[in-house]
Amino acid sequence: MSWQIALQLAFSGLSVGSIYALVALALVIPFKASGVLNFAQGEMATLGAYIGLALATNFGLPFLVMVPLTLLVAAGFGVLMERLVVRPIIAAPEFTVVIATFAVGVIIKSAVRVQWQDNLFTLDAPYVGAPIALGPVRLNPAYLVIIAATLSVVGLLTLFFANTKFGKAMRAVAIDQNAARLMGIGVGSVFMSAWALAAAIGALAGLLLAPIIGITPEIGHLILKGLVAAVIGGFTSLGGAVAGGLLLGLLETYAGAFFGATFKNIVPFCILIAILLYKPHGLFGTAAVKRV
């Protein structure tokens, strides 16, 4: 493999990995806050893409207006989901809550399918255009936007968690719910915001993907990749989730190049299993210390 090809593959891997990273982020944020794995997170991307489609085609909104509006609607959906589905049964066994979110995913996907069926829709974005040649490597602008968007989301989140009062409150809740409550933090509103934030990030992933792969009800399939990425990252840290996503993208792309598509999905798993046997809490995770 020449270095030109290796570079081209690295670019592809990072682009795909950025999408995985966004989904992983959206899984980790509510998990950290309320300890629930949202199995409908893939469908949040589907929902984002279709809301965007409806806003762009039915109301003729320009891309730059449509995107923030879509994220807002998605965030509202996240709030609803937390209030109506997760909170009422948060005391039930973990599995019950996870399967409840899974049911929400089933509902979203089948509702979308009833409304739009399986037609492949396209969503035009102003940045879609001819590839940029950088030496021997061709960079598709749509992919550059994905990478840039992912990096900015992570940057903004880091600033938010480090510098704002509410961000700090969210971190406090993640560390110890009871202590946070005693400090006067509104745990309920933190949960709600975490779900809103995650839903918006999921929708963003759908919107970024739409101009590249088109819109179908099956976009939600992404959840499995996001899950793998989040687990590599340790499922507790935002940086870990992003690193996990990018790593998964690169691993898959190079595995595909070296071993073909059959093993493309397996090689990352084998590597991960090996990693996990050596480090059972993920690459960037830490073991929780338990007092017995």
């Binding site: 090809i5 081209q8 593959l9 592809s12 682009s15 795909v16 999408i19 089948s110 399918r113 409304q115 739009w116 069926q117 399986d118 037609n119 492949l120 829709f121 396209t122 590839p131 061709r138 598709n140 993907l209 590249i212 792969i213 088109g214 179908t216 009800p217 099956e218 399939h221 992404l222 792309t253 190079y254 595909g256 190049a257 073909g260 598509a261 059959t262 493309k264 999905n265």
Partner: protein, 403 residues
Amino acid sequence: MLGRKPIILMALAALGLSLTAARAEQGVTNDTITIGAFGPITGPAAYIGLGGRDGMNLAVKQINAAGGINGRKLQIAFEDDTHSPTRALAAVKKLIDQDQVFALFCVAGSNATVGTIDFVKEKGRVMYVSFASAPPVTWPFSRNLFRGGTTEVPRYGEMYAEFVADYFKGKKVAIMNGREEYPKNEGNALEKYLQSWFSITPVKRAEFNIGDKDFTPQLLEIRSAAPDVIAFFGNPAEAAIALRQAKELDVKARIFVGTTMVDQNFLAAAKENAEGVAGFALTPLLPGSPHADMKAWEAKWKAEYPNLPVGRPNIFDILAYTDMYAFAEGLKRAGKDLTTDKLIGALETFAGYRSGPLATPLTFTKKHHIGNLRLQPMQVKGGQWEQLSWEGKRPSEILKRYE
């Protein structure tokens, strides 16, 4: 006084008579014929079954409005199979056992169809298969099973190979396909007949997975083999990405695509990258075609289903519509005294029968029930699929094994 034996014999004969009578008349009354139909209308393959169901129902409505079949109206009992063989078998058992249908009309995918075959044979019902291309539908031969508008996978291979070698003059062919059942079978069939008919061994065979969003590794591999033709089998969304990336990565070759991509979806997704791409259509005319026959048909379809989303009617609407007409023709030819045997006999009189301008010609004989051996070659010109006048010259070898 009668001995014991004659009484038993008579009883047996009566029982036999009542059984055969019951068998012959299941699903047929003085004024209705009930047909059971099944296909996926939920889940990722819903576009197949929804198209199949709606196209079929449109035909049934028109046939009934025109007086039905020898004085009887057609009734359809439709069941969802969710694209799963297990659920398909449940659907077929329900249709035959509970709804007591006379025959089955299948608008399901290949594996779901194959999963029901043993039961259908055991019950001696006729099943008319509209879409499934898997060989077990027609081979080994079974009197009860018929395949309509589509043809079987090895025939795809023959036509694809001849087209690639003859029309595209391909010498170095690369094959890229998804790992699901349909595209993989298309890829395998093309490879097989390129080798056996033209002694062309593909220079590269690259596969991808459902949900892949990036084809750079596969395309770089293909680029290094410098093919003159790339054959792509997958779905329109995947093809659109692959074509765009191929252009970005300077992969220069003529592109041949599988039947699933010869439709409007592909044009909408691939846009200018679709230009010059060729492939075969399952029907002589495609949805969205400016041809007058298609315009007229689409107007009728839209009058029946005014609220369905873009993308419909799709190719499956057309296949099921034309196949239901062909099947109804068989029922008509079977005569007023309708039995399964007579229906089979009637369908076997089809020799190049076409129910209308949208239909492919169907032939059934006492030796084979393949139906159609023809696909329509198409190429994208000026952003539209256009019929090519190219015709395959090599006689098909598919029918040999039925001799």
